[in-house]
C-alpha cells in the first residue's frame, strides 16, 4: 500500500531558487526508506513538502491516494500522521523540560490530560529517558536530545516517521541506539523514512533507496541495485559502500564467490571461499592420493576456533616431505545465539543461564537493556552492531547471548533466522527466557 506519493512535484523558494524538480516518488507502508544524496540535493526540502509545510508550485503530494489539501484541518490530519524529526534537535526541542516537550504533540491533538500523561510516560520509557523527564534540554547530550526529538514525534503515533539526517553528530554507540529504536518502530509497522549521505548506512539498513542529486531523484530501487550503479553514484557525488568495495576487491583476487551482494559483515564473510588447500608435513609412508586424518587443528592454524580436519586427500607431495592436502572442515563446536528478554529480567535467572549455557559473549541491544546491565554490573562484550557481531562470533564457535527487550526480541530472531536461511549455516538460536505458560 502506498502511503505517500508525489506527482511531478516542483518547488521553488519564495526568492525564486528552484529546490525540487519533477519529483515522482512512492513511499510504501511499513518500509524502511532512505533518501541518499549529498548536502544540498533537496532531501530536507522534499521532506517539508511531504508534510505540507512547503506547498509545491507544480505537481502534487498524495496522502493515501488523495491529493493534499492545504487548509488547516487537512494539514493537521497529515501532520499527525507524517512526523518529522529535524536534523538539529535544538530546532525541535523548545520546551523547558523533556516532559513538556514530549507532551507538546499529544496536547495539540487535543487529548485529555490523563491520556497525555500516560502517552508521555510510556514514550519516555520506550526510548529509555524516564530518568530525565524533569531535566531541561540543555543538560542532555546530543544522543539523548535526538531520542527526545524522536519521542516527541512517536508520542503522536504517526503512520510515517521522517528523520532528516538522524545520525549526524552522534557517536557510534549513540547512532546504533537510534538505529535500534528505528528498527523496532519499523517492526511495529511504522514506515520509516530517513535522509542521509552515509552510503554505508543506507546500503545496510534500507529496503528501498532513492538517490537524489541536484533537486531531482536520479535513481531508485533496492539498495543492492542502486549501489552497484557506479555511474549514478558518481553523478550523485557519492561512493560505493565499504562492504561492496571490499567484496569487489576480494572477488577480483578470486577469494570470494561471484554474483553475491553482501550487505553486512556476516554476508561478506559468507561470500568468502573456504580454504581448501593446505601445506602439511606428512609421514614418509603416505603417498599421493591417500586420505589422511589431520585431527583437530588449533592455535595458529585456527585462530578463532578449533576445527577438525578429516578425510584430507593428499594431492601432491613435495621433495622435503611437505604435501598439499585438500580437506573438509568440520567445526568442532558450533556456537549458538541466545536471546534474553530483559522485560522479564531477574539477575539470578540471567546468571544461571550464563553459567548453564557457558556464554562467552554477552551483547546488549537497546537503551533499557544497557541500563539494566550497567545497573547490575554485568560485563557487556558487544554494545554496537550487536546482531551482526553475535552472528560472526557464533560462526567462529562462541556462545553468545543478546540482552534485549520488547519488539527487538522478535526483530533479532528474524534477522538471525534470515541469515540462517540465506547462508545455509545452521546456528542454534533461541529465546532463553520464554514467556512461561500459565
Amino acid at each position: 500500500m502506498v502511503v505517500l506519493e508525489t506527482k511531478d512535484l516542483s518547488y521553488s523558494y519564495p526568492d525564486g531558487t528552484l529546490a525540487l524538480e519533477n519529483i515522482n516518488i512512492k513511499i510504501e507502508k511499513g518500509k524502511k526508506i532512505a533518501f541518499v544524496g549529498r548536502n544540498g540535493s533537496g532531501k530536507s526540502t522534499l521532506f517539508l513538502a511531504l508534510n505540507g509545510t512547503h506547498r509545491p508550485q507544480k505537481g502534487q503530494v498524495l496522502y493515501h491516494g488523495n491529493p493534499m489539501k492545504y487548509d488547516s484541518k487537512s494539514l493537521r490530519e497529515v501532520r499527525k500522521n507524517v512526523g518529522i524529526v529535524f536534523q538539529n534537535s535544538d530546532d525541535q526541542i523548545f520546551a523547558p523540560t523533556i516532559y513538556q516537550d514530549v507532551a507538546f504533540g499529544p496536547t495539540n491533538l487535543g487529548y485529555p490530560r490523563e491520556k497525555v500523561d500516560k502517552i508521555v510516560t510510556e514514550t519516555l520509557e520506550y526510548v529509555g529517558l524516564t530518568h530525565l523527564r524533569d531535566k531541561p534540554p540543555h543538560h542532555l547530550s546530543g544522543g539523548q536530545k535526538k531520542r527526545v526529538a524522536i519521542a516527541g514525534i512517536v508520542a503522536m503515533d504517526p503512520e510515517v516517521i521522517i528523520l532528516d539526517e538522524p545520525l549526524s553528530n552522534l557517536d557510534p554507540v549513540g547512532a546504533d541506539e537510534v538505529m535500534d529504536l528505528l528498527n523496532e518502530l519499523n517492526y511495529f509497522g511504522k514506515t520509516i523514512v530517513i535522509s542521509t549521505h552515509n552510503v554505508d548506512l543506507a546500503y545496510s539498513w534500507a529496503d528501498y533507496v532513492f538517490l537524489m542529486n541536484d533537486r531531482r531523484v536520479i535513481s531508485e530501487g533496492a539498495p543492492e541495485e542502486i549501489f552497484r550503479q557506479t555511474e549514478n553514484l558518481k553523478a550523485a557525488y557519492l561512493r560505493r559502500p565499504v562492504t561492496l568495495e571490499i567484496y569487489e576487491e576480494i572477488k577480483k583476487r578470486g577469494l570470494a564467490k561471484v554474483r553475491s551482494c553482501p550487505r553486512d559483515i556476516p554476508d561478506l564473510v559468507q561470500t568468502l571461499r573456504s580454504q581448501h588447500l593446505m601445506w602439511v608435513d606428512v609421514p614418509p609412508e603416505v603417498e599421493e592420493g591417500d586420505t589422511i586424518n589431520l585431527g583437530i587443528l588449533y592455535g595458529e592454524y585456527a585462530q578463532d576456533s578449533m576445527y577438525e580436519a578429516i578425510n584430507c586427500r593428499v594431492l601432491h607431495i613435495h621433495e622435503d616431505g611437505l604435501a598439499i592436502v585438500e580437506m573438509d572442515r568440520k567445526a568442532l563446536r558450533a556456537g549458538s545465539i541466545g536471546i534474553y528478554d530483559t522485560s522479564r529480567y531477574s539477575h539470578e535467572e540471567l546468571m544461571r543461564i550464563i553459567s548453564r549455557d557457558g556464554i562467552e559473549c554477552v551483547g546488549a541491544m537497546g537503551k533499557k537493556s544497557k541500563l539494566i546491565a550497567e545497573g547490575d554490573d554485568l560485563y557487556i562484550h558487544v554494545t554496537s552492531g550487536v546482531i551482526d557481531r553475535s552472528i560472526l562470533n557464533a560462526l567462529s564457535g562462541q556462545r553468545c547471548l543478546i540482552l534485549t527487550h520488547g519488539g527487538m526480541v522478535d526483530h533479532a530472531m528474524d534477522r538471525i533466522r534470515c541469515y540462517i536461511e540465506k547462508s545455509g549455516i545452521t546456528l542454534p538460536v533461541d529465546v532463553v527466557n520464554p514467556v512461561k505458560e500459565e
Binding site: 509545510t53 512526523g83 516532559y99 496536547t107 524533569d134
Partner: protein
C-alpha cells in the same frame, strides 16, 4: 561546561518540594526582615535560610559564600559610611582627620547594623529561592497568577533558547579568540559587534525553524504546563512552622529594643 545558578537549582533536592511553601517561606523572611527595627530578626532569617540552602538544598558552601560575598562586600562598605555620617548625639568614639572630626554615634551604628542585617537577610532569602527553585518550576507558579498564557509561553521559549544561544555565543567567541579576535581594544570591539550581528541573524533563523517544527507537530496555541502535585509533607510543614514561630518570637522580643 560552567554551571549557572539555574543548573544548581535543577539539581537541588529541594526542587521537588512544594513551590508555594518555598515562596511563602521566602516572602515571610523578607517581610519580617524589612518590618523589624532590630537587626536580630534579619540575621536570624539569614542564618536559617543559609542553613536550609546549604544543608537541605545541597548547594556547595564555597559557591554559596562566593555568591553572598558580592552584595555583602558592597553593603559592608555602605555600613561603614552610614555609621560615620548618620545619627546625631553623643559619639561613641571619634578622631580627627585633617581638621575634621569623624565619629560614630550609637544611632548611626544601629542604623548601619540594621542595613547590613537586612541586606544579608534579604539576599539569603532570594538566594534560597533561586538556588532551589529553577525557572521551569516557576512557570507553573506564574500560570496560576492569571498572567496571559502567551506571556508565559513566550517566556518558556525564551528560557529554552537562552541556553541555545549562549552555547552559540560561546562557540563564536571561542572561534574569534583563537583567531586573535580579542588581541586589543579595537579588534575586541569589532569582534563583539560581529558576534552580536551573528546572534541576531541566528535567532531570526531559529525563530523560523522553530515555527516550522512546531507546526509539524500540529501547534495550535497550547503548551503543556508542568504542574505536578507536590503536597506539603508533614516534616516540611513542621520545619516551616518552627521557622515562622522562631522569627516571630525574635521579632516580638526585640521590638523597640536597640542593639546598642
Amino acid at each position: 561546561m560552567t554551571h549557572i545558578l539555574d543548573d544548581y537549582a535543577v539539581l537541588s533536592p529541594l526542587r521537588y518540594k512544594n513551590n508555594w511553601l518555598k515562596l511563602s517561606v521566602v516572602t515571610f523572611g523578607i517581610l519580617a526582615g524589612v518590618s523589624s527595627n532590630s537587626p536580630l530578626v534579619p540575621l536570624v532569617t539569614a542564618a536559617c535560610m543559609s542553613f536550609a540552602t546549604v544543608h537541605f538544598g545541597k548547594i556547595p558552601s564555597g559557591l554559596y559564600l562566593r555568591l553572598l560575598a558580592g552584595p555583602a562586600g558592597f553593603v559592608l562598605v555602605s555600613a561603614v559610611i552610614i555609621a560615620f555620617f548618620f545619627g546625631e548625639g553623643v559619639k561613641l568614639f571619634s578622631f580627627d582627620v585633617l581638621g575634621f572630626t569623624l565619629g560614630v554615634s550609637s544611632a548611626g551604628l544601629n542604623m548601619a547594623l540594621l542595613v547590613l542585617a537586612r541586606t544579608l537577610g534579604g539576599m539569603s532569602c532570594l538566594l534560597f529561592l533561586s538556588l532551589t527553585t529553577p525557572m521551569i518550576e516557576l512557570f507553573s507558579v506564574l500560570k496560576t497568577t492569571k498572567l496571559p498564557d502567551s506571556f508565559i509561553e513566550i517566556s518558556m521559549m525564551m528560557y529554552r533558547y537562552i541556553f541555545v544561544f549562549m552555547e552559540v555565543a560561546m562557540g563564536v567567541k571561542y572561534a574569534q579568540t583563537v583567531r586573535l579576535g580579542y588581541k586589543d581594544f579595537r579588534t575586541s570591539f569589532r569582534s563583539v559587534v560581529m558576534l552580536g550581528t551573528n546572534l541576531f541573524i541566528r535567532s531570526w533563523e531559529q525563530g523560523e525553524k522553530l515555527y516550522v517544527s512546531m507546526n509539524s507537530r500540529c501547534y495550535d496555541g497550547k503548551l503543556t504546563m508542568l504542574d505536578e502535585k507536590r503536597p506539603v509533607k508533614l516534616p516540611e510543614a513542621v520545619l516551616a512552622c518552627g521557622y515562622f514561630v522562631l522569627v516571630m518570637f525574635v521579632f516580638l522580643y526585640t521590638r523597640g529594643m536597640p542593639l546598642i
